[in-house]
Amino acid sequence: MAQQKIDIDVTESGGYQVLRPEGDLDVYTVGSLRDAIGSVIESDKPRIVVDLDSVPFMDSSGLGALMGGVRRLREAGGDLAIACTREQHLKLFTITGFGEGVSIAPTVEEAAKGFRAS
């Protein structure tokens, strides 16, 4: 499968990184998100909020990369929260059950409040 890159805007915000992927998160582009999460895991404060507002479409690969990120960050003593207002993505979290136990909120700040205590 040919890999494609999507732009991921990374910003630092009070003790955590905010990742803003811009474009579809699917099997072709998910490598970019995986790499971006991977580089944060190696840092001192592995806490990430992924903002999905600029992601029009996300399939099971995109969802898998997010959930894989949750697991890897928690193992490293950090966490991953999700900022999302898109109905389509929220429904995916609800259907799969991934919404339980992961901080999902409409804004980055609210999502960050739900980080698990390390």
């Binding site: 995986r34 479409f57 099971s60 690969s61 990369a65 959930m67 890897r72 259907i95 059950g97």
Partner: protein
């Protein structure tokens, strides 16, 4: 910097032409300098020498003729004297043309002056005494004293003039020698340069070109044999070097293609295994009709279904492994094997689904998961117990009632979480009672996530509308039309698998079978 082959050849031969022109110019300049020296020596110096000799000789002869005339036979000797006077004048006039430098002209003037003084002495003081016999001794004395002194002066000046002409000749000889030496050095340099250039053009350049082309030919042969690892080393900054670089890229591209072809072959094998595992013949029972539909975007995929009938119960599973390709196919295989194994041991729905979850947890990475709908349909009653593991809910298309259009709804109920990620995904069950003629439609997310060229997804609402609209068709046509409908929406570009299993419950009595026939004719 890139130097083109054309530039090398044109530059090389151009330089050779310039060297040849230089050679011609040096040769011509040598001839020209020799000619100048020749003119200086033969046209000026030698005639000058002759003229001076003749002038000195004519004065000496004049002196001798006059002395002879004083002794006897005067008319002849006087005539000889006159003749020598004319000779001296002729050579003096000629000398004025030949001698051009200041020093020479001064010496010539002194010579002419001394000559004129001698002739004046002879004409005015000696010749008048020739015819007077008593005066001859007086005449001898005059010519012996004053005349001899003037002749000596003439000879001295003549010697000086001769020396100056000899110097001109010596200088000219030195010029010729120097010019010749310089010319020889230039000729040697030009010849060596021309020779080196000629060697480059005739030996080195073609040799290098042929050598590089030979390497390219060898590499092309190796590629022809299927060997893509031969290194192409062409070190040249011209078109041949460029060709070598491009050929190297082509070689790598072909190698990649070969790897892809091998990969495709492996995929074909995997696809064959998956087909054997998934698409075996479905069980046929009178109480339920099963119509599967699978359209894979790739050779292998993560969508799967499985149906079994045992002791009056039909179990139906539709699963979807996350991701695509081989990884998803392997996950599907793991889930299916665990599920079949536990079911064969007579396990309950919870045990079967739990076993699939554990098997997936053991083998998959934290990014992979599988969603599943698992249904146990009691064939005698139509009661279906179903479990939803993070999957989209099924759709129930109700049996037709008279001429009313079919009704249908998404089968909502308690949800559990996906398989292969949670230690405890939850195993809550739901129950639905199917009436004869009802259709239970199980499907994977490929239908919902089909995208239009504008990026809009097909979604639950459009799918429900399509189910109802196409519900009057028999189950096979229903599936085909539905796929066609989704493909039209996506403008033919579907990049996810589409899997659907339509379960039409017919009931166990004959009447329900007839109801089914009617629904098929609608």
């Amino acid at each position: 910097m890139r130097v083109s082959l054309r530039l090398k050849i044109v530059g090389g031969f151009g330089s050779l032409l310039v060297l040849m022109a230089l050679l011609g110019w040096v040769t011509l300049s040598l001839f020209s300098s020799v000619r100048i020296v020749q003119e200086e020596v033969f046209d000026d110096a030698i005639p000058g020498l002759v003229a001076v000799d003749e002038i000195v000789r004519s004065y000496t002869a004049q002196s001798a003729a006059v002395r002879g005339a004083l002794i006897g036979n005067p008319p002849i000797l006087l005539a000889q004297y006159r003749s020598e006077v004319d000779t001296a004048r002729f050579w003096q006039e000629r000398s004025e043309e030949l001698f051009t430098s200041g020093e020479e002209r001064e010496l010539l003037a002194q010579l002419i002056e001394a000559g004129t003084s001698f002739q004046t002495l002879v004409d005015e003081r000696v010749i008048p005494l020739v015819s007077q016999s008593g005066q001859r001794s007086q005449a001898f004395r005059i010519i012996g004293q004053d005349g001899t002194a003037l002749i000596s002066e003439i000879e001295r000046i003549g010697a000086l003039l001769r020396d100056s002409q000899r110097e001109v000749m010596i200088q000219s000889e030195a010029d010729v020698r120097n010019n010749t030496n310089r010319t020889i050095i230039i000729l040697v340099i030009v010849l060596v340069a021309a020779l080196a250039l000629a060697v480059f053009l005739t030996v080195f350049l073609p040799g290098r070109l042929v050598g590089n082309l030979g390497k390219l030919v060898e590499a092309a042969r190796a590629i022809g044999r299927g060997d893509f690892d031969q290194k192409i080393e062409v070190h040249s900054r011209d078109e041949v070097g460029e060709l070598g670089t491009r050929m190297g890229e082509m070689q790598q591209g072909l190698k990649r293609l070969q790897q892809l072809a091998l990969h495709d072959r492996e995929l074909e094998i995997a696809a064959s295994i998956q087909r054997n595992l998934l698409q075996r013949e479905l069980p046929e029972v009178p109480a339920a009709r099963l119509v599967p539909l699978q359209r894979q975007a790739n050779l292998v995929g993560g969508d799967w279904y499985d149906v079994d009938v045992y002791a009056g119960t039909m179990t139906i599973a539709v699963g979807d492994a996350s991701g695509k390709g081989i990884a998803a196919a392997l996950m599907a295989t793991v889930a299916l094997s665990a599920l079949r194994g536990e079911r064969a041991r007579g396990g309950s729905t919870k045990r079967v689904v739990g076993a699939a979850n554990q098997a997936l947890l053991d083998v998959t990475d934290p990014e992979s998961f599988t969603t599943l709908i698992y249904v146990s349909l009691e064939l005698s009653s139509g009661q279906a117990r179903w479990m939803n593991m993070g999957h989209h809910v099924p759709f129930v298309l109700c049996a037709p009632r008279g001429t009313d259009p079919r009704r249908g709804y998404y089968l909502e109920g308690p949800r559990n979480r996906v398989l292969g990620w949670f230690d405890d995904p939850g195993l809550a069950e739901n129950i639905v009672d199917l009436s004869p003629g009802d259709r239970l439609v199980l499907f994977t997310d490929g239908f919902l996530e089909a995208k239009s060229p504008e990026g809009e997804v097909f979604g639950e609402h459009r799918l429900a509308e399509a189910f109802i609209k196409l519900g009057s068709l028999d189950p096979e046509a229903f599936g085909d039309e539905l796929v066609a409908h989704v493909e039209r929406f996506a403008a033919g570009k579907l990049d996810d698998d589409l899997t659907m299993l339509v379960v039409e419950y017919r009931g166990t009595d004959l009447a329900s079978g007839e109801a089914d026939e009617r629904s098929g004719d609608d």
